[in-house]
């Protein structure tokens, strides 16, 4: 670990306590969304489209309805009409009209696996049987699945009323033209023409990336009970209970005050468990049947119907001086949105060149609908594809200039005060620190031996989010503190937030009891996403701690009968008053807690904070790999991930986030992809065929935690969860070039792709 000199000494932060929810999770007692069990509950199931694009002519549910055990059947006709608008989801946004249409198709199905109807029955097998009795008459339509084909004139059109939203300055879209291009944006800095004119070397390359699925192990699920007084309760596995409440409210036109969302433990999300899918369906099935309804998706439905990340096409052009100074850069990014607009191309555009200080740059981004599942956020949404294209190009540039790839990056590194993609100055960032740590790492300096082995490096950037978080802290008479949280704990945030409150109060981790509660029981809290929870929730924990300190000091002053100004909250949670005639005054936190009830009452404080001071994150990865020329299999020999983490609150879970992000990135680089047939049907909707890394695919993943504290946080926290997924695709692609001398321009580079490149074309 590289400690920066200004880092203060902490007592709890930086230690590795056992997480508060740990025992429940190793004994099988933790209740995840799929474990919800309600008295008298029915089981719901969803019928999905076999077509990639078709008009729904007729749905007849009468036979399903008549099956003994079936208590309710719903189609889109059971949902209220909703109007177009914009609903903020936290990591991305949604138009409620499209959201409800994705939940249950109305006039058309837009992708293979699009939900069409749903049933609720007394037994899961009966529900499955009932689906087979629903008759749907389709009129198949031509489908388009590739982003570039979808942009062509004459391509099959998904939405008759869609027009391009032109967001580039000085450009105007044809308001009469039916199109699949939902929007065009342009980020501009400096003068691109002047920049390229000054360049001595110009390099231009094209890239493609596949759709990738988040691959959480727990399928989407929802249980709902619609009471006779129209009070709706939903139990679900979500990254954001309040976001789910907002979305349900929008699509069912039910006031938020009548909806309670209970966030169960969540079995992975990575951005994919923000949008609603089953929640409103379970709710309407419950309303129609009068009973609680539980639903969960089969794995093939998860692949077919829930958010993958965008497949992309990009073109990157970079101009540089012979000494390596980059003077101009242009990126063209076309992102698939899936069936409804809303790809993360905007974020990708801002991330593309973020590690570099380039005077003249333009990024064009296109959001394009295709006949695939609506994409949703996936760990640093938009960044992996955009930065893969840039980092691959940077490496080719380094090779062309004969400059060490890390040297070239350092020469052009973004730094505090230099302008980012939208022209704003960077705050304190650790880009250079990360690059130096990579360049000086023993891994980078070591010699790599062996035939068909190669080494690659790449950088990554992600903004990290701020947004809103709320908590309540209540002091118990024994001196422990209950910490009530609105944030879903997806990877150890009960621990990281309790640790920050403990640090503020000078207590131990064991004395703080964190609990995640439902939307009726805590203030508004944004999604667990955007690498924001430890940052934003930590701010709240700090504010709560400071307010508790203030009130405890006040109470001690009252008990001692001295002015408040003479009492201080000292180290280790000891409250100290003035010394008089050798009479020392001090109380431990627990001692004072025991006196609260009798001296004016217990103390409970709440806080809602919305801070826009999240610290951007940079990462640099080094990978060594070996290519088996017989099979095309790539073995990862060694992997080192360097990252500016601000301050590591619980280093084990920081390392775990980085290692998990790396593993997902390796999957993107080498194996994971969606395979569609010519009719647009998904052919690999299983964990066997959508090949995520397993334990024996990976080595240990070394992490280097660079700590450049975020000045916008009381403990220097930056987000850590997302940026580690950004560098792997380019790092591995660059290592493959080193190993076998081939530049690949598409991910994943699967064994088949490698064999195609190595074997003589015959």
């Amino acid at each position: 670990m590289v400690a920066t000199p200004e880092k203060p000494t902490y007592k709890v932060i930086g230690t590795r306590p056992i997480r508060p929810d740990g025992v429940d999770k190793v004994t099988g007692r933790a209740e995840f969304g799929i474990d919800t069990r309600l008295d008298g509950m029915l089981y719901g199931a969803v019928l999905r489209s076999p077509h990639a694009h078709a008009r729904i002519k007729r749905i007849d549910t009468s036979k399903a309805q008549a099956l003994p055990g079936v208590k309710a059947v719903v189609t889109s006709a059971d949902f209220p009409d909703v109007e177009s608008g914009t609903l903020d989801l936290g990591e991305g946004s949604a138009n409620p009209k499209w959201l409800v249409d994705n939940v249950l198709a109305s006039d058309k199905v837009l992708y293979h696996g699009h939900a069409v109807a749903a049933v609720a029955a007394t037994d899961p097998h009966v529900a499955e049987d009932a689906l087979a009795l629903i008759e749907v008459e389709y009129e198949p339509l031509p489908a388009v699945l590739d982003v570039r084909e979808a942009m062509l004139d004459g391509a099959p059109i998904l939405h008759d009323d869609l027009r391009t939203a032109e967001r580039a300055e000085g450009m105007h879209a044809d308001a009469t033209k039916r199109t699949n291009v939902a929007s065009h944006l342009q980020l501009k800095k400096g003068d691109l023409e002047v920049g390229f004119a000054a360049a001595e070397v110009v390099i231009e390359r094209e890239y493609e990336t596949s759709m990738f699925h988040q691959g959480y192990i727990e399928p989407q699920n929802a249980s709902a009970f619609w009471n006779k007084d129209d009070e709706l309760t939903v139990w679900t596995s979500t990254q954001g209970a309040f976001s789910v409440r907002d979305q349900i409210s929008a699509v069912l036109r039910l006031p938020v005050s009548q909806i309670k969302v209970v966030p169960m433990e969540i079995g992975g999300g990575f951005g994919g468990k923000i949008s609603i899918y089953l929640e409103p369906v379970a709710a309407v099935l419950s309303k129609k049947s009068g009973r609680p309804v539980k639903m969960w998706m089969s794995r093939d439905a998860v692949f077919q119907g829930t958010g993958p990340t965008s497949a992309t096409y990009s073109r990157v052009r970079i101009g540089a001086k012979r000494d390596g100074t980059i003077v101009a850069a242009h990126a063209y990014l076309a992102f698939e949105a899936g069936a409804y607009p809303g790809s993360p191309v905007g974020a990708g555009a801002q991330c593309a060149f973020a590690p570099y200080d380039i005077a003249n740059q333009v990024v064009d981004g296109y959001d394009v609908v295709v006949n695939g599942p609506k994409t949703s956020a996936y760990r640093a949404p938009g960044a992996p594809a955009a930065e893969y294209a840039v980092e691959a190009t940077i490496n080719e540039l380094a090779e062309q200039l004969g400059i060490d790839p890390m040297e070239l990056r350092l020469k052009n590194a973004s730094r505090e005060g230099s302008a980012n993609a939208v022209g704003a100055p960077w705050p304190k960032i650790g880009a250079q620190e990360v690059m130096l740590a990579v360049k000086n790492h023993p891994h980078y300096l070591s010699e790599l031996h062996g035939k068909d082995t190669g080494r690659g490096v790449a950088l990554g950037f992600w903004f990290n989010g701020g947004m809103e978080s709320s908590s309540t802290a209540t002091i118990n008479a024994d001196g422990t503190v209950m910490l009530i949280l609105g944030s879903t704990d997806i990877g150890g945030t009960r621990a990281s937030l309790a640790m920050q409150l403990a640090e503020t109060l000078g207590l131990t981790m064991d004395e703080i009891k964190p609990h995640v509660v439902d939307t009726d029981s805590v203030g508004y809290t944004g999604v667990t996403g955007g690498s924001r929870t430890t940052f934003a929730g930590g701010w709240v924990a700090y504010e709560l701690g400071m307010e508790i300190r203030r009130q405890m000091v006040e109470r001690a002053a009252q008990i001692w009968g001295v002015p408040v100004g003479q009492v201080a909250y000292g180290e280790d949670g000891v409250i100290v008053g003035p010394v008089e005639a050798g009479n020392e005054r001090h109380m431990r936190f627990a001692e004072l807690a025991g006196k609260l009830a009798a001296t004016g009452g217990m103390i409970s404080v709440s806080s809602t904070q919305r801070k826009n001071t999240a610290g951007p994150a940079f990462a640099g990865h080094i990978v060594d790999l070996h290519v088996d020329r017989e099979t095309g299999k790539v073995s990862i020999l060694r992997y080192t991930a360097v990252q500016d983490v601000g301050t590591a609150i619980h280093p084990s879970y920081v390392e775990g986030q980085i290692q998990g992000g790396v593993a997902q990135g390796i999957g993107m680089a080498l194996n994971e992809e969606y395979v569609y047939d010519a009719e647009g049907r998904l052919r690999n909707a299983s964990f066997l065929d959508y090949r995520m890394p397993v334990a024996n695919d990976l080595p240990m993943i070394e992490t280097v935690l660079v700590e450049v504290p975020n000045p916008g946080h009381p403990y220097g926290v930056r987000g850590v969860g997302e940026v580690p997924i950004v560098p792997p695709q380019a790092a591995i692609r660059n290592a493959l070039k080193d190993a076998i001398g081939v530049n690949f321009y598409r991910t994943p580079v699967s064994p088949r792709v490698i064999l195609d490149a190595l074997l003589p074309a015959d």
Partner: protein, 162 residues
């Protein structure tokens, strides 16, 4: 095993050392029976076709994916689930090692990993890293990159050897 009307069967078996009799649907997998009929929800459904290992249980001393076993097959058998791994005295060393090594993030795959790890260590008390990685290749984890899981497995092996 008694078959009733409407596809129901009465099954007599032993789960976590307790004899139990329950009513299942003929079509129930062991996983469905555990979760929806008996109420033991520690084994998880991640894929329902044997690819993810989240539903791992021991059946007559063998590690199986309970989604790929029919409920009817456990008549007269002995089944151990995640709920049977800890004892009244406390956690099993494998569970303790997973906690101490921070070998879980979301925790959905953890019951499967713990059952599979216990099976590994019962059979091979001193696995190498490579052996542990191969044994656990049938259990998917999407959060951790497996690093800390493998460390927990090797650490549990050390503890159990003492």
């Amino acid at each position: 095993m008694t078959t009733t009307s409407s596809n129901r069967i009465v099954i007599n078996t032993t789960i976590n050392g307790e004899p139990i009799e329950f009513l299942a649907d003929m079509r129930d997998s062991l996983l469905e029976a555990l979760r929806e009929r008996i109420g033991l929800r520690g084994a998880k459904e991640g894929c329902n076709n044997g690819n993810c290992g989240a539903c791992s249980v021991m059946l007559n001393g063998r590690l199986v994916n309970s989604c790929c076993v029919m409920a009817a097959e456990i008549e007269g058998a002995e089944v151990t689930t995640i709920e049977g791994v800890a004892s009244a005295e406390g956690l099993h060393p494998v569970q303790q090692a997973f906690l101490e090594e921070a070998a879980l993030q979301c925790g959905i795959c953890t019951p499967g990993f713990i059952v599979a790890t216990k099976a590994l260590l019962d059979e091979h008390p001193h696995p190498t890293e490579e052996e542990a990685r191969f044994w656990l290749a049938g259990n998917l984890c999407r959060c951790t990159g497996y690093d800390k899981i493998i460390r927990a497995v090797l650490s549990a092996a050390d503890t159990m050897a003492k």
